[in-house]
């Protein structure tokens, strides 16, 4: 009889091998303590992925604990596959954002596609049908030789997966900056809809209950993907590339339908998708949460390739797979559903009372690890951190004024970071399901809930240059901007998910950025009652010691009770008044203006005054609810002038903006300053609005009128919309024209 333990664990676990698995000296010691012996090869593999940064959050956990995660709207905060928020009427929004940065750099199409597939699984594992996808993308400078190829591949990968799944991709954000030249960011978010009393969790229970594997077969894909996501790149990374995972959206679509069908019965005790670290993290998580053990019969796992070993099976990151614990005796019922959908189904183990993760092969044990210490004793680092030094405040008067504001506006609107993203979102099916009320091109996407008047609003936001200059303000600003985007559409913001993309946390400066961002985010989230219900951390986004800009992306979700009241950004009719809500001091530090005109990426970023944010936003939401607003847009990059340009271009309607005589801000700073907490709206009811604003003490002024076919900034300075549109719509198609 074959001794499988000897066969599969023949590789000797030396200190070198342990180090090669990314386990530090200190961790090595803890591991020996837990095991009371040297782990075998299979067990070592499991330790290495469970203790990777990606799975253990060892550098970030300490700080993440400071984020506010509670509120009466929260049904499930961080810790499950996705966050769950009550949206009333017995329904819940289930959502999360997740990065697939490293894989997308190696193979942009498949990396992005499997990122989208993974986040959708996180959401439907919880019993929710995905109803919308979003994405936040960061690429290197447009001049970098790889940028086009990466952009093209990532966008078609996101579309390829989401379109096939039939889930609309309704928005996102895209930036270019040289700091991302060799570390692009691909963050994908999914929002799903579930009945709030039918949420599924991962906690295993019921000693003896069957553990079931469903979905695709396991191959050797992406072994050590989680460890890769936790390591810096260097020039040898090409050579070390593990097998890339290939996505199969068709199978995932079947998996989605099959899971939802089974979920409509009461056969499932718990369910967990297999994401990073595949079978390992899914089984460990289920066992840990349920305070039980799990015994896996690895020879029963459906395999795609010959000769797979326990080590490979436990670490494979093959996509489109799920692990479930079923109620006893329900296997046949479940099997029938999965076979109808032509998916693999196998009973691969059972729940035990040992609190060990035990791996078997043809009845013989090939490895066993106690679960609680594997999870709890995993190292948590309070890494040394350094605060980012404060930057100088740059006075508007110290920044060069330009001769023609509209000429500059054209340059900015046609620049890589401000130009239209139509080239991207026309490759995404943003209409499938028939409920997209506000599509890409708006502040927030608005998606109606089937068979209701209600809708969910979604936005993803981050301004990395602010975060670099002042991580705390930047973190605050990202939360505020997402809150503002939802508000501008008329929705009530409910909760957020976050994707913390940073460089190497072992460098105190980088760790300091992380800490600052967390503090800023927390402050804003508390103020807005806008808690964090899920998230993801991606560290070590560095190549050869050069890190990305700190990029804590916020995915915000809100609810609007009647989608017919939602307001879009496009100007609607001639002769309406334009009102600017919020105070304009002309903040040019770290602005698009400063960068464009003087080539300076510096200065303190605009401060975020949370009281003002809250007051101005709540005021606007009330106006929208009262039907007083015809178009609305929050002010962000490029300030007032760029917001007005967005509104005019998308409404194909000209406008004239005049700086009020009462304002003593220099004109260039008035039109391009990036002061926060501001919105530009159009209305037929200006008098009513101004009166209401005065009553509530909200700064609001009529600053212009819609009409004509030009955009005018002040008296003598005009540009035709046609010219502006050509600059805005032209850049990306032209840039991408030479890419296959």
């Amino acid at each position: 009889m074959t001794d499988y333990n000897a066969k599969f664990n023949a590789i000797e676990v030396t200190d070198e091998l342990i180090a090669e698995h990314g386990i530090t000296k200190e961790e090595h010691g803890i591991m020996l303590d837990i095991m009371g012996r040297t782990p075998n090869y299979t067990e070592l593999g499991i330790f290495s992925v469970m203790w990777s940064e990606h799975c253990s959050y060892k550098s970030s956990r300490f700080w993440l604990k400071q984020l506010p995660t509670e509120g009466e709207q929260v049904i499930q905060g961080p810790g499950e596959n996705a966050g769950v928020v009550d949206i009333g009427d017995g329904q819940a929004a289930v959502f999360k954002i997740e990065s697939h940065n490293h894989p997308s750099f190696i193979e942009p199409y498949q990396g992005a596609a499997t990122g989208v597939g993974g986040i959708m699984r996180d959401v439907f594992t919880m019993g929710a049908r995905p109803i919308a996808n979003m994405n936040a993308l960061r690429f290197g400078s447009p001049e970098h030789p790889k940028t086009r190829h990466l952009l093209s591949g990532v966008v078609s990968g996101i579309g390829g997966y989401g379109n096939c799944m039939g889930v609309p991709t309704v928005g996102g954000e895209t930036n270019f900056h040289k700091a991302y030249d060799t570390n692009i960011l691909v963050n994908a978010m999914t929002v799903g809809l579930a009945d709030s009393d039918k949420i599924f969790y991962s906690k295993a229970s019921g000693i003896g209950n069957p553990v079931v594997y469903v979905g695709s077969k396991t191959g050797r894909d992406g072994i050590h993907g989680a460890t890769m996501a936790s390591a810096e790149f260097d020039d040898d990374s090409d050579a070390k590339r593990p097998t890339v995972q290939v996505g199969d959206p068709f199978t995932e679509k079947l998996l989605l339908e099959a899971c939802l069908e089974l979920m409509s019965t009461d056969a499932i005790v718990s369910i967990q998708d297999m994401g990073a670290a595949g079978l390992t993290s899914s089984s460990v998580e289920m066992a840990d949460k349920g305070e039980v053990g799990i015994e896996l019969h690895l020879d029963q796992v459906p395999m795609r390739e010959e000769g797979m070993t326990p080590y490979e099976l436990m670490l494979s990151e093959s996509q489109e797979r799920m692990l479930m614990v079923l109620k006893p005796g329900r296997e046949d019922e479940a099997r029938a559903i999965f076979e109808k959908w032509e998916l693999d189904f196998a009973v691969v183990g059972k729940v035990t009372d040992t609190r060990e993760l035990t791996m078997m092969w043809e009845g013989q044990q090939v490895g066993s690890i106690p679960v609680p210490p594997l999870v709890d004793a995993s190292p948590m680092y309070e890494r040394p951190w350094e605060e980012t030094p404060q930057q100088d405040i740059i006075a508007a008067s110290d920044v060069k004024a330009v001769d023609s504001l509209t000429e500059l506006l054209k340059t900015i609107m046609g620049s890589p970071n401000m130009a239209s993203r139509r080239w991207i979102w026309e490759q995404y099916d943003h209409l499938v399901m028939g409920n997209t009320i506000q599509a890409p091109g708006c502040d927030a996407a608005v998606v109606r809930l089937p068979e209701t008047k209600k809708g969910i609003a979604i936005s993803v936001d981050c301004t990395p240059r602010y975060c670099l200059a002042d991580p705390k303000q930047g973190g605050k600003q990202a939360v505020a901007e997402s809150w503002r985007n939802l508000t501008a559409s008329g929705a009530k913001p409910l909760a957020i998910t976050n994707n913390m993309n940073f460089g190497n946390p072992e460098r105190p400066r980088i760790m300091g950025q992380f800490v600052g961002a967390v503090k800023g985010m927390s402050e804003a989230a508390i103020k807005f009652n806008y808690p964090v219900v899920s998230g993801n951390v991606s560290l070590y986004n560095e190549t050869n010691g050069i890190g990305i800009l700190p990029t804590p992306v916020i995915g915000g979700v809100g609810v609007i009770d009647d989608v017919s009241k939602a307001v879009s950004i496009d100007l609607k009719a001639e002769g309406e008044d334009l009102i600017l809500i919020g105070e304009t001091k002309g903040w040019l530090g770290n602005s698009v203006y400063l960068d464009t005109v003087e080539g300076r990426e510096e200065g303190a970023p605009p401060p975020v005054y949370l009281d003002q944010e809250l007051a101005n936003g709540d005021f606007l939401r009330g106006l929208i609810d009262d039907g007083l607003v015809t178009a609305s847009h929050d002010l962000s990059d490029g300030g007032l002038a760029c917001a007005a340009a967005d509104m005019a271009i998308s409404g194909k309607m000209g406008a004239k903006l005049v700086q009020p005589a009462s304002s003593d801000v220099p004109a260039h700073a008035y039109f391009f300053g990036e002061d926060q907490a501001r919105y530009l709206i159009s209305t037929k009811n200006a008098a009513v609005i101004i009166e209401k604003a005065q009553e509530s003490g909200i700064p609001a002024e009529i600053i212009g009128k819609t009409g004509g076919s030009d955009l005018k900034l002040g008296e003598g300075d005009a540009i035709s919309l046609a010219e502006l549109r050509e600059a805005f719509e032209g850049w990306m198609p032209e840039y991408m024209a030479v890419e296959l």
Partner: protein
């Protein structure tokens, strides 16, 4: 001369298309079919007439554009 480049997925890389074709063939009662893999073939006319040079040129095209060498292998056939 003419070049024919055949691009196939590397061993071990999941081939959803191949899998689906296999499935469909079985459903259509074509029995005994196994290991279906789908790849691409690209045919080109080259101005180059020297075989060795043509080969180098096409190899460069494969590495730069035609094949995705992270997941694909390629082979080149040349003919006059």
């Amino acid at each position: 001369m003419k070049a024919k480049v055949t691009i196939t997925l590397k061993n071990g890389v999941l081939d959803p298309q191949g899998k689906a074709i296999e499935h469909a063939l079985t459903a259509l009662d074509f029995g005994g079919v196994d290991e279906v893999r789908q790849g691409k073939v690209i045919e080109l006319d080259l101005a180059e007439t020297d075989e060795a040079k043509a080969k180098t040129q096409v190899e460069a095209m494969c590495e730069k554009l035609l094949a995705n060498t992270v997941i694909e292998d390629y082979s080149i056939e040349l003919s006059a």
